[in-house]
Symmetry: C2
Subunit: 455 residues, 2 copies
């Protein structure tokens, strides 16, 4: 067994591990930073759905670049850590014993499959959506000449994959537990709008239902159909289980590191475990919601990157105050020609969490005047505390600019700003790029929210 010595060992090279490594090297150029990861070639996780349709069309177009890390002098080892001896600060792979000063778990997440469906994973034609090029290539090769697809799960990955399959002319049905698609991120009126566009793109949705059996009629180890709780049976050649992800914590648990809620590794604000030489970042770490303070299951590469940055700046000393405490669920996606985005809590989630909220909505156009070619409808919904008006959630639907508007709303939420503060904000408006100055929708939605408070 070869002995290797490094200063900072990072287990996992996804967005969290990669950013942690780069940040650690920036802050400590003289420290030896070693990233160990399992796969030579890594996919950009959020773009995996686009491999299956016309957008990317192959996994080779979705390969993550590691150029920056290599240029900076960060070492990379391909392999799997089997055990970590925290007391003696040594991590073991099959071939190496790696000693370290600081360790960062960035072991990510893997597809979650409900216990009742796990046995069906052995059937040909049944797939999850792992962050693994080999498996994604197999899934693509298998599904390319099939025409009937069932996607189980109506979250972002499920909906994005369904739309890509539909773009190839396949007959696609999405099955989800909630009334409309994407309901963890959107209130039902907006989810319904997304669903209508998805339907117009040829993807059917069966909501308030769930798959109770994945059927192999001919007993030939090839999937034929899914059976739903409602009794419906849907014939299909391919089943994609897009039913969420779960933290990879086996290694940390074996090493005696404590877990937090939902099985993620417990960390403090600076991504430190109880042992301040041991960190965890990304999907393997336990998260709390920024607003509700409840455990959060949200897994986002952008949040992971932010956490990697915090860990990489807090290894030997804490260089910067972390700007946030808790995860803001902040999402965006394209459905057809429309972009949907959400930050913070939805109106429904606020009610479930027992938060007394008001809502302000505004619908206008994303260009001005509305005669500008390509102008689209633009909707903003703000959710604010009834007492004091602090903004705790927002949803935007519009053109591609929506992807950055939600980052404005995210920043407003993260900064604890209220609707009164937003009402007089100065913005840039331009005919070809934004709504009208007189009707900038974030400002207008804030004004509408005040009307709900001040009766």
């Amino acid at each position: 067994m070869e002995k290797i010595k490094c200063d900072v060992l990072i287990i996992g090279g996804g967005p969290a591990g990669g950013v942690a490594a780069v940040t650690a090297k920036m802050n400590h150029p003289n420290k030896e930073i070693l990233v160990i990861r399992e796969h030579e070639v890594q996919l950009v996780p959020c773009a995996i759905p686009y491999i299956f349709g016309e957008t990317l069309g192959c996994s080779e177009k979705d390969v993550a670049s590691c150029g920056m890390a290599t240029d900076m002098g960060i070492s990379t080892l391909i392999g799997a850590i089997k055990d970590v001896d925290i007391e003696n600060k040594i991590a073991y792979s099959a071939l190496n014993a790696i000693s370290f000063e600081k360790l960062i778990f960035a072991t990510g997440s893997q597809p979650f499959v409900h216990e009742s469906l796990k046995h069906a994973m052995i059937l040909d034609g049944v797939f999850t959506v792992p962050k693994n090029k080999t498996l994604i290539d197999l899934m693509k090769a298998y599904s390319d000449d099939k025409s009937e697809v069932v996607v189980v799960g109506s979250g972002f990955i499920g909906v994005e994959i369904a739309l890509e399959f539909a773009s190839k002319g396949k007959n696609v049905t999405v099955i989800g537990g909630s009334k409309h698609i994407l309901q963890t991120a959107f209130d039902s009126e907006i989810s319904q709008e997304a669903e209508d566009i998805m339907l117009a793109h040829g993807v059917k949705y069966i909501g308030k239902d769930r798959v109770i059996e994945i059927v192999d009629k001919n007993d030939d180890n090839i999937v034929n159909a899914v059976k739903l709780q409602s009794g419906l049976i849907i014939d299909t050649e391919v089943v994609i289980l897009a039913t969420g992800y779960q933290s990879n914590t086996g290694l940390a648990l074996k090493a005696g590191v404590s877990l937090g809620h939902y099985g993620g590794i417990w960390v403090d604000e600076y991504m430190r475990t109880e042992n301040h030489d041991i960190f965890a970042v990304g999907d393997c770490s336990a998260r709390r919601d920024f607003i509700t303070k409840e455990p959060s299951k949200v897994m986002l590469a952008s949040t992971s990157a932010a956490e990697g940055r915090v860990a990489g700046s807090s290894l030997y000393d804490i260089k910067y105050m972390k700007g946030f405490s808790g995860t803001i669920a902040i999402f965006s996606t394209m459905i057809g020609e429309r972009a949907f985005s959400s930050a913070g809590v939805t109106e429904d989630q606020a009610k479930i969490a027992g938060i007394d909220v008001v809502v302000g909505t505004f619908t206008g156009m994303n260009r001005h005047p509305a005669t500008i070619p390509g102008a689209q409808k633009q909707q903003v919904k703000l959710i604010a505390m009834r007492h004091g008006g602090q903004i705790i959630g927002g949803q935007v639907v519009g053109g591609v600019e929506t992807g950055e508007m939600i980052n404005l709303l995210g920043f407003i939420i993260e900064s604890h700003f209220d609707i009164y503060r937003v009402m007089s904000m100065q913005v840039a408006t331009q005919p070809m790029l934004t709504a009208a100055p007189t009707n900038y929708p974030v400002v207008m939605a804030a004004i509408m929210a005040t009307k709900q408070i001040e009766k």
Copy 2:
């Protein structure tokens, strides 16, 4: 002379006056709000350039809607106020004597023409860019069949009009005083990039020069050429003077209202003049720069709308704290397929104002991975105080999402946030909509700025 009585009289119905009226009515539904304006039909000011090219193609497509004001029960009168008797609270038009409790000047601005060129305004083929449909229609009718156009002024209106004329196949030359175009909003490396794209779209730029004479060779009252300080003579059929705007303050001055710097009407934070029953909003009001605290010549419909909102909420009592003190210059525009935007001060302006700054820049792609169809280069430049890192300026170049990214930067500037705060911000990233989570350019530029502080 007919007597009219109202509670709030607003002189001018542009973005500032219109928003002031709507806000006043929202806050005081029982007050009689009267807007008096000179033109029956009003143009959306920022889209006037797009009337001249392929984008809109006619002024009818650039007409501002007054639907909301009418629906709310706001009265409108077409006419011109000639005199205001502030002591007795009566405004006089040719036909009416209008008594009021509160008065808002929203008299806007008109094209500025240098003294030395004013006499040439009588020539056929010489135009300014007023916010007046009749005059814009005349200019369009005259220029439609001409092929040689000179645009004097390299600000946003000049550049946008030049590009629209070029889209119709005209031969267009822009003449400006600075080395590159748009230099009041961008540092020279970014201005140069904008200029290169403008050139690729067929518009020539002559910088560091100025028009000293508008030439009528044949003495037939038709323009033939412009003569530049450098000695260059450019033959042309049409001359557009896009050399800025000046506040319309004649009426206020005659009424004895004090002016501030640059001739605008002096107002406090709540848009009140020295007399708290008399307000001024929009381009007719005097503005200070948010960062430098120097008088500001920036005239933007978006700032005017924000001011209208503040005035409309501060008429009888101050309902909301104003969120900003001073004007953030916040601009965006499209040049070809690229969007350019700027907020706060540029690096050059900071240096001229004697502010000790550092700069962080980052260039990536606006989609991820870069293989996503339509992905473009995306650049962010942040200007921050060397001591403490407060962000005081930002420039973004990229796709159409740029128009909303600058609003995020504007909000960061307005909120006095620093680069350290931005480094761990949570954002939404999505392949079809944004940069990669690991390289979100606003965060990366903030990190680059820290490297300039922490040597």
